[in-house]
């Protein structure tokens, strides 16, 4: 089954270790990882993607793409839980999450930030880090077991489910790294 997963962990170090452990599962043939990245949400709610790129344009694009993917992972949970937010506005929420991820705090409008904070909090609470990945897995045990070893919590949505979301863009997973890498924050 093709899935997007978010493994939420207590800190960056655990996320780095979980990223490498995920690719080890791929090397062993337990799952196939198509792409993965590490993200962090600071205590103020801003999401940063740990990249290996220094090009500012690409860093922003990566932030937008992966931030939006994070919103898509929250998807119906966020929409359903938000009594004051209709399901149809989720597109805006996902996009706002991406904007916040890629831009500096003062570049994001405050209302977008509030929406993004609401939505992504279901997946990535303030102060936590996560590994976001696109994977093919025959069963969920390998990733779940690996995540529990690091004290992580796994959120999972099927790729087809996310692709059917009205707000999904095929560009979102474009910025997941197609191999293991050393995550760095700007």
């Amino acid at each position: 089954m093709d899935n997007y997963v978010a493994i939420v962990l207590d800190n960056d170090q655990k996320s780095y270790e979980a990223l490498h452990a995920l690719w080890n599962l791929d090397s062993n043939g337990d799952v196939t990882v198509h792409g993965a990245a590490v993200v962090h949400r600071d205590k103020f709610g801003y999401v940063n993607v740990a990249t290996k790129d220094t090009d500012p344009g690409l860093r922003t694009a990566i932030g937008v793409g992966i931030g939006a993917l994070l919103g898509a992972l929250a998807g119906p949970i966020g929409a359903a839980a938000g009594a004051s937010i209709a399901a149809g506005t989720a597109a805006g929420i996902g996009a706002a999450a991406g904007g916040v991820a890629g831009l500096t705090a003062d570049a994001a409008k405050s209302d977008q930030h509030d929406q993004a904070a609401f939505e992504t909090d279901f997946v990535l609470p303030n102060g936590k880090s996560a590994v976001i990945a696109e994977v093919s897995e025959q069963w969920t045990t390998p990733i779940d077991t690996m995540a529990s070893r690091f004290g992580g919590k796994v959120y999972r949505r099927s790729k087809s489910d996310i692709q059917n979301d009205a707000w999904f863009s095929p560009d979102y997973p474009e910025y997941l790294y197609p191999y293991d890498y050393e995550p760095q924050y700007a």
Partner: protein
């Protein structure tokens, strides 16, 4: 980096390496990008040729993805070659296009690998 025991794993590892190399040239000066363009193009072309040959031994799903990967890699070879003659103004956009194409090639090969692994697990179960 993934293990490279099988031919498909090796092909994916090479596509991943191409992505790394092209990504590393982003933001570098024109001379550096141009110096690497021919080599990247040749690597992509060679990998496309090798990937085409892998399809014969795979199931339909993996075979289709390998054909797709070969097409993407041929496109990447063209993208990389065009970097050598790109103007300064064109360079960034062309380089980014090559990054996207390399990512797509790695994804197609990864999907083919997943299909192959799923098929093998079905046989063994």
């Amino acid at each position: 980096m993934s293990n490279v025991n099988g031919a498909l794993e090796q092909a994916r590892a090479k596509a991943q390496e191409l992505h790394k190399q092209i990504l590393a040239t982003l933001g570098k000066d024109q001379a550096n990008v141009r110096a690497n363009a021919e080599s990247l193009s040749a690597q992509a072309h060679e990998l496309a040729r090798s990937v085409k040959g892998l399809g014969d031994n795979q199931q339909a799903d993996a075979k289709q993805r390998l054909n797709d990967a070969a097409s993407v890699l041929e496109g990447l070879a063209g993208d990389a070659k065009s970097l050598a003659s790109a103007s300064q103004a064109e360079l960034k956009a062309k380089n980014e296009a090559a990054v996207h194409r390399a990512r797509a090639a790695a994804l197609k090969l990864s999907q083919a690998l997943a299909a192959k692994r799923a098929s093998a697990q079905l046989i063994h179960s």
